[in-house]
Amino acid sequence: MKIDTGNFVRNAKLEMQNQYARTFLSLLPPYIAARRVKVMGSFPDPAAAQELSRAIRAEAVARMPDLLEEFEKNAIAAGARVLWARNAAEANEMILSIARERNVTMVTKGKSMISEETGLNDALAREGIEPFETDLGEFIAQQLGRPPFHIVGPAINVPVEEVCDLFMKKAGMQEETTDPVELGYAARLFLRDKFRRARLGITGVNMAVADTGAIINVENEGNIRFNKSSPRTQVSVMSPEKVVPTTTDALHLLRVLCRNCTGQSISAYVSIDRGPREPAEIDGPEELFIIIVDNGRSRLYHDPKLREALRCIRCGACLNLCPVYAKIGGYPYGWAYSGPMGQVLNPALLGLEETGDLFKACTLCGTCREVCPAGIDHPAIFLHYRALEVKRKRRSSGRWEAILFGVWGTAAAHSAVWRFLYRLARPVLAVFGKKGKIEAMPGPFAGWFGARDLPVPARRTFRDQWRESLSKQGGAS
């Protein structure tokens, strides 16, 4: 997948012109968020349920190396082959060679965020192997060549007319229609043929259970089940943080994930694989490969603050409540992950150099932190990124900023200095005022006014007025 995180501001401005997306964003995320609240109520104690999922995720990440080894041992005992990849290139090469060895020219895929990260589809296509995303939304996004708009509905914003054109051209649809259900059935027909013929199925992993060596997938459409039933070879790709200690832990996370993700108490399908098919089975994969892709995780694991990002279970609840996401949608985030989740993950995985202003697009309202079932403190991580960036930049361009904030710091910590400087600044500020507002200023402060106004300071300060009124009262008594 093309990385476009560096152009966040430009793309966000562009997306804000998109009236269709704006209308859509004003309706759907609040709807899912309301459903979430309702279905969380089916827990006898929703707060305890959230606390437990947070504790499980914190434990899973804290014990990650041990759990991974335990998982690997049990998965191998069940007959799976477990491969480790340092980065995207290694992971893609592994899958390519599995495909080549089996003379595969077409693969079907279930939704996998890690394979979006590694750009697997492009790598396959370059080698002449045709990949088909089989989740309806992923299929549309893939055929349009766009990043996911929303983690749960990757193409949910695409107008039906556009889907119709696309399916006429690329999904063998016979007759034009703008009915979403008819469009869905056209995709069903098209992809069913792929499922029947596919020799190799690729899936992601929602959870990997350490004490059984099983992998778990959660879905509604049935495409992942097909990928695990029809092809003779199954490749399941996971990032290391998918590992959880036990089946019981996985079941609690499952309940929490579905509620937070789509507002369902459970998805239509949950499938659990422990090794390849048994000899007596007529369908299912004869061989199961599990590829664990690090792609930077073991490095960021050393920073205790960044490590927290690995707790994420990709539920998308934070997207639905984020005031910034609600205005710009998923595209400006420029990569596999969007919303607060993307603002946490993209810089952690790609590096701050690549991600520009991404993590600054935040009001620090903290709604994401409140809702997060994994216990991630997004705003704290954003502040951490800012601190890291300042440290990185001080060596080069941040000199004036450093001086300015040095002065600011001194002033803010000493009330006499503050009052003195403010007294000097007030008449200067007043010069730029128009109708009680300052809307622009020349020089180094121009940028600040790009999206904000400042009220013109009152002619007399509150302190002056207060002192005066006190002295008047004193005079009267």
Binding site: L52, P65, W84, G222, E278, D283, D294, R299
Partner: protein, 224 residues
């Protein structure tokens, strides 16, 4: 020698500073654990019905077959594929099919995987299977796949009919899954699915509909 990716990743993870493992809160007992049999049936039915599933109660083999006859007629079924688990075998569906004019096959009737795959994808109106458990919590079927329970029979045909003994109705997922993954006795299956209603999507304009890739309809007959 160059370190393998595995050693390198694990070593780097192990070198990182250790972090505290937080205490876990005590969770209240799930409500379903206190339900009696009728309560469990009511919950199972209510949950599955909400997902557009249909639930029938059948007292004995005769009633199960009556329901199947009714379903076959209503859905104009002519070709059924069945699993061969104990529950389904006990129904002797081939004999029933003969009476009803419905052809009934099993995976074993096909000479190889290819012809089975073709049949289950394209030449089957309904898959009839047993299920290892029914979970009241969310109206969910638990199916452990194996030689007698092929994966595609409950997935590829547009209609899935499941027959489950009422003694297999349990309150919550853990009651069912601990049997397979509890470590005692039984070897965990290679493939196990939790099925709650038909397949579905809402990926185009957030319009929800059933039958995306898997069955469009799911009917559960609770037996006994």
């Amino acid at each position: 020698m160059k370190e393998s990716a595995r050693e390198e990743i694990l070593a780097r993870l192990r070198q990182a500073p250790k972090m505290e493992i937080p205490a876990r809160p005590v969770m209240p007992t799930p409500r379903e654990a206190l339900f009696d049999r009728d309560g469990l049936i009511a919950r199972f039915t209510e949950e599955l019905t909400r997902e557009s599933g249909v639930v029938y109660r059948a007292a004995d083999r005769e009633e199960i077959l009556d329901y199947l006859t009714e379903i076959a007629r209503a859905e104009s079924l002519t070709r059924i594929m069945m699993s061969t688990d104990d529950m389904i075998r006990s129904l002797d569906l081939p004999a029933w099919g003969e009476r009803q004019g419905v052809s009934v096959s099993t995976a074993a009737d096909y000479p190889d995987r290819e012809s089975y795959t073709r049949a289950v994808f394209d030449e089957t109106d309904a898959g009839v299977t047993g299920a290892d458990f029914a979970v009241a919590e969310t109206g969910t079927l638990v199916i452990a796949h194996g030689g007698n329970q092929p994966r595609l029979v409950s997935l590829a045909p547009v209609l899935h009919v499941a027959v489950v003994g009422i003694d297999r109705l349990v309150p919550i997922y853990e009651d069912a899954l601990s049997v397979f993954y509890g470590g005692a006795g039984r070897i965990p299956p290679a493939h196990l699915t939790l099925v709650t209603g038909p397949s579905m999507t809402a990926d185009i304009r957030a319009t929800a509909f059933k039958g995306m890739h898997g069955p469009r309809r799911v009917i559960v007959i609770l037996a006994g």
